[in-house]
């Protein structure tokens, strides 16, 4: 069984945002999948997807600080600067964290660890809507 669908996410502030609920809401058919995989693919080059702690919001705030510390704005040796100081760092952060996730599906649910949640990582100051292609495949429950 294959199912593919676009999830369009409303514009978000620069930073890290939990979207596990949005993903589940977009895939009501997930409950009928016994064993499978869900692929999430973000169609952008300055936003990314990752999985991390789903509880304490201070983790997500620190993600923003640490990533912006690792890849700072306004380095004099950057050459791609026409689209603003947040643009090139956003591209690099997007590749460091990656454009896609593949999550196991087991007995009708995402088989995440207790503390895991899906993050949309918005690396631009004004990123606009973001589209994530969801591809679900596997064996439906008998």
């Amino acid at each position: 069984m294959w199912l593919q669908r676009e999830l369009s996410l409303a514009p978000k502030a620069r930073g890290f945002h939990l979207i596990t609920g949005d993903v589940l809401e977009a895939l009501p058919e997930l409950v009928n999948m016994n064993t499978g995989l869900l692929n999430l693919f973000i169609q952008h080059t300055s936003a990314s997807l990752t999985i991390n702690e789903n509880a304490d919001p201070s983790v997500r705030r620190d993600f923003e600080s640490v990533m912006s510390h690792l890849v700072p704005e306004n380095e004099p040796w950057y050459s791609h600067t026409l689209e603003g100081p947040d643009d090139l760092p956003a591209h690099i952060k997007a590749s460091l964290l990656g454009p896609s996730l593949t999550i196991p599906v087991t007995r009708g649910a995402l088989n995440l660890g207790v503390w895991q949640g899906v993050y949309l990582c918005e690396h631009r100051n004004h990123g606009g809507r973001r589209t994530v292609v969801l591809t679900l495949q596997g064996q439906p429950a008998g």
Copy 2:
């Protein structure tokens, strides 16, 4: 054909550990898969999976040094500090390296390069057991 199984790994010291053998041992059915993919997904937010050099242990030692240099402990601007100085850096490292791998399966074996091995990346000082969900799919040998 779909097969899904949990691999539970005994607690490991902080650092980078080759687990290719553990993965193969947990999947005796792999030899019967002609063409497919194996997904490995770690159910934790302070440990991760990557693929790198399977020979010289100095590479794995340097991974620990470099990652801890990139994301140091005890930065005064960290806010998520209640679980110890190794906790927030562990979350960031886990997302930089990623929670999952998808490896091609060809004629009954993982189609890795000659020098490639699967690493469990333990980012905590005392991380405990780690669970990896293995999902194998593909076409069995005729």
Copy 3:
């Protein structure tokens, strides 16, 4: 439907190179796939794959500068130094960016965003040929 094939890429200069065209050329059957996924897996530990901006070459030049700034050569505390100063940093960069990509396939095409292209990331000064295993699966059209 499953299809697996090796793509062998001619040696490239250290840096970031667009290979979307090479991938498409190697997979003429893609046009017949209605809904599916393409996995790309590089069989090396000092080169990697990522997705980023497909237009302005200055983005790819800055990727090389930023990654080499993040993981510099010749740190006195590196232990794996026998294969040259570019070797250990190449291993780390390869794991930070990752060895594989999984891209949705929709109505006969890779479902990439308008600005997305596939990058081969060559982290060695003289890396030689690089092999990428392509695994295409899904539901054929018709």
